[in-house]
Symmetry: C2
Subunit: 457 residues, 2 copies
């Protein structure tokens, strides 16, 4: 049977059964009977297969040639909920608590802004690889469950893999998010994004958009949306659920909490990091618990939230602070044994305005770099210190090396992650002219980039 | 009472009670009675206090002026063993298994090489900070329990905080370790080291010293040895226990497994990372379980060991491979949004021979860097790719970006950590002249820097 034959057959099947994409159906093949939701095919999809989302949340491709019958069912399928029976929500406040449950979600409106990445990618069957292609609308259409959470307006802002996202893109995204919020039409904004640098972008939005009236939730996927094992739909469902139900506004990242398809973690935008190249639960909160977990359509907020800086939703759109500019000339240098200290001179000579040194341990570098650091500070470059340990905080008063670095003018950034520190410095330098304002802002907690009570997840 | 008065009183107390440092004693003060081991005081210690190591492994300072009586006891104190009753050794083979239990430790001999760092540091009471001062002998003397594990010959090799350790130092340490092993006198070598870059040094020794007849165990402390809360003694006891009992040779790092003072983890030298600035359990195995856990004087080996590359102890000292040279001109560049791609040109112009790019996700950088990478490869610099995610592996065949990078000549390093990749490149370039040999060695598993079955601890 040829592809054209399959097309004709599919048309016929759709016509006789009266089904359309998004419908819940039972498909009988020569081999088995499948219950699921019909997912639209896209240009690059394998044309011999119909994609069905099963009850367990996974997609399967069904060979059209083998389909005997398609039958529409009216029963609303709950496809993605497979919550672990033995999972304990330690440290979390139940979503039943009226404090957390913001709204009747049936009347919620969300804006879905697509920027590219795996979540809006499809397998390119010519190369076997993945390419960015899916639009926000296609993404929205391919996950029919979203309809039950909120009315979602999709829009494409960028189509970039996130390794290509630059500070200029953060400005574009921040401005677009602010526009959507300013319209007063939305209860939340979802930003679909490539996972590689999603934590940099979430930090950027955390500084660029303050005093937010509604939640802004970034979401990605570790596997493309048309793959059977894609995590895209559950992540997006989790993001939308949180965005409609959370009592708190702010910038968050919603991704799988474990490798199972059950719980979505919503991390604080400045405190999250991609810690695994491929696992679904690659994103981890650093030094704090995830802000919220979403499962079974409910959200639970971490008990830690009281120690953090969050505000509740509000309607004063005009009070939202929008500062979407970023300065490109900031570098992140990871120190290591054998580090070429002249790299600091290079930054100076290239007109960089700040350097984040990702030091060792509590925030150290070799004494061999002292003269370069001294010179850089003297010439007006800000030198900030973070730690390559990732977890924990810098402390430059414990050892000789740290005290020497303080004397040289190095500014430690406590437990701000290196990635967030870089983004914050880029933001500070674009928004503050005076040295004292930059230093004051860099060492002041704006969006939970500093946390006092440290808990390791 | 003055300090001089205290000195006279202490002399008198020691004389009348017949005690010496290292003895188990009962000390009666005006306030309480303490049972512990007398720890020597050092130059920088507070001269008003006598340091006693308690049964729980912690040190306390006892005000000499308040001491009423010191009494020597003959009972051997077990000060550091406080093993959690509910801890489960999942995934580990019991130390009872004769496979693991190498020797009667009473006749074991270990070499203890001190290189500096917190483990051989004391609080400087003038500044309140910590300074490097303790020698290997003082360290050995301050932990009397070590006597019961093995006869230990201490020697000072370096006195550097580890942020100052350079590739040249790795050569010095590797050569000294090889000398000790070549003497045929030792069942293992312990290297005490600052924690900041201990994982870089452990990787360096893993490549410089192959086919090792005995284990080489690096050990450090997150808090200085004379602090009440120091983790130094338990780490050192764990390192020595493993070094005497392990059936397998190789290079390891021994540090606290949890924040409790009970279990020591022995990590594979190439697969370990300092993941917290201050916690005792800062060191974590990446993509594998710790090779061994030590508790209650016994060692347990991870079930994973069969999937890894290890050899058993042997007596053929002449078969040991010693290649202690390292090339300094290798850089580690962490890619980030807004990354200045001309940093790659800088490395080229500065005569660097290899660059490790710590890319995003599966091993990506912005397409804006492609021309610099292409030029660097063309001009003969090796460009290797690792991931800043830390866990997981690079994969350059999944996305367009990865395939483009492969075409440019970028060499992915699978799941070698960035730190180990840097060290390995430094080692390869010092030991192999031909390009093909460098590439072959960099992409061949030598010391478990590549692991196939990935388990997240």
């Amino acid at each position: 049977m040829t592809v054209d034959d399959n097309y004709s057959k599919l048309d016929e099947l759709f016509k006789t059964s009266g089904v359309k994409f998004g419908d819940s159906v039972i498909i009988e093949t020569q081999d088995a009977t499948h219950l699921g939701i019909l997912i639209p095919r896209y240009e690059y999809a394998d044309k011999n297969h119909l994609v069905l989302k099963l009850k367990n949340g996974y997609n399967i491709g069904i060979n059209v040639g083998k389909i005997k019958n398609i039958k529409k069912i009216t029963e609303k399928l709950e496809t993605t909920i497979n919550h672990g029976t033995d999972y304990k929500f330690g440290g979390f406040i139940s979503g039943q608590d009226p404090v957390q449950d913001f709204s009747n979600t049936l009347s919620s409106h969300l804006s879905l802004l697509s920027t590219g990445g795996t979540i809006s990618s499809k397998i390119d069957y010519r190369t076997g690889g993945v390419m960015a292609a899916l639009t926000a609308k296609e993404l929205n259409d391919s996950i029919p469950e979203l309809e039950r959470i909120a009315n979602i307006d999709p829009e494409v802002v960028l189509t970039e893999y996130s390794e290509n996202i630059k500070p200029e893109h953060w400005s574009v995204i921040a401005t677009k998010v602010a526009d959507k919020i300013s319209s007063g039409k939305y209860d939340g904004v979802i930003v679909s994004h490539g996972t590689d640098t999603m934590h940099y972008t979430s930090a950027a939005l955390s500084f660029a958009l303050q005093n937010l009236p509604v939640p802004v939730v970034l979401v990605g996927a570790q596997r493309s949306s048309d793959r059977p094992s894609s995590d895209a739909s559950l992540n997006l469902i989790g993001a939308c659920t949180f965005a409609t139900k959370s009592k708190f506004s702010g910038v968050f990242v919603a991704m799988h909490y474990t490798v199972s398809d059950d719980i979505i973690a919503c991390h604080i935008g400045t405190r999250v990091r991609k810690n695994h190249t491929s696992r679904r639960d690659a994103f981890r909160s650093i030094d704090v618990l995830p802000f919220s977990l979403v499962h079974n359509g409910q959200i639970e907020i971490s008990r830690q939230y009281a120690d953090l800086k969050f505000q509740e939703r509000h309607n004063n759109v005009e009070n939202m602070i929008v500062k979407p500019k970023f300065e490109n000339k900031v570098s992140l240098l990871k120190f290591h044994p054998g580090f070429d200290c002249r790299m600091i001179d290079y930054c100076l000579e290239s007109g960089h305005k700040a350097i984040i040194i990702e030091g060792t341990g509590l925030g150290h570098v070799s004494k061999e770099c002292f003269s370069q650091i001294k010179n850089a500070v003297k010439r007006g470059i800000f030198v900030f210190m973070t730690s390559q340990c990732i977890w924990g905080r810098t402390a430059l008063t414990v050892y000789d090396t740290g005290r020497d670095l303080l004397n040289l003018g190095v500014i430690p950034l406590f437990n701000t992650t290196s990635e967030t520190a870089l983004v914050k410095a880029m933001w500070c330098l674009a928004n503050f002219k005076e040295e004292k304002d930059v230093i004051k802002t860099m060492t002041t907690n704006i969006a939970n980039e500093f946390t006092n009570r440290i808990i390791v997840d």
